[in-house]
Amino acid sequence: MRQPLLAEEAARADFYALLGRLFHAAPDAALLGDLARAGPIPPTGDAALAQAWQRLVDASSAMDEDAAADEFDALFGGVGKSQVSPYAGYYTGATAVDHPRVRLRDDLAGLGLGRREQVNEPEDHFAGLFDVMRVLVAGGAGRERAALEVQRRFFESNLKPGAGKFLDAVAGAQGANYYRSVAALGAAFVAIETESFSLD
């Protein structure tokens, strides 16, 4: 019998889902609306997370989907033209022989995960890495959630190494506006995850 997720584990999965979604594509009007209406995070917890959340909520109420799409394309769109690489390997000094993608493919295969058919995007896109974590934390599509140790190993091997530089690059990119708040939320959340995994 599957146990319901504890509230904090459900929240982790939801943060991963949101980050994966926002680095996959620009938010549409429906998601911007939900974000704009989302409640505040009480400042009694992690202050950086609460502040970043409020910034994202405020930014979402001031953003429309066309402007968000333009910003997303300017930041991440176009081969060789994007300002910010969304691939983890770019930030981890990947070499051809020992590219993190090679290890990532092995890790994904070991977890019974892989790209959807017809997807030709390299696996180390951060949207995919966040989404893998969502699946490991919450389970879904007939699969149980993964043991904490499995989550920790995937996070530390594949997501954490490039995440800081990637989120810094997003925050500092020319033309970044809405995505500065996304990057700040990502950084606050990754910091919490990093510390929590070190405790277990």
Partner: protein, 65 residues
């Protein structure tokens, strides 16, 4: 040993606010659309074929699906 560490982790997450009603409700209120959009984007389109762009296709599925 393991239990003590797990308790530390849980305490930490609760202290960070992740288990609090505010965080859980706030992020849960946006997660369904985040997940739905992700799933929809990864479906092969009907009619005009699968729409491929350089930054759009990043979805994983389980082998059980």
């Amino acid at each position: 040993m393991k239990t003590a560490k797990t308790t530390d982790r849980r305490k930490f997450l609760l202290a960070a606010g992740l288990g609090g009603a505010g965080v859980a409700a706030a992020v849960a209120s946006v997660a369904p659309k985040a997940k739905k959009a992700a799933a929809a984007a990864a479906q092969p389109a009907q009619g005009d074929g699968y729409r491929v762009s350089e930054h759009i296709l990043k979805y994983y599925k389980t082998t059980e699906v």
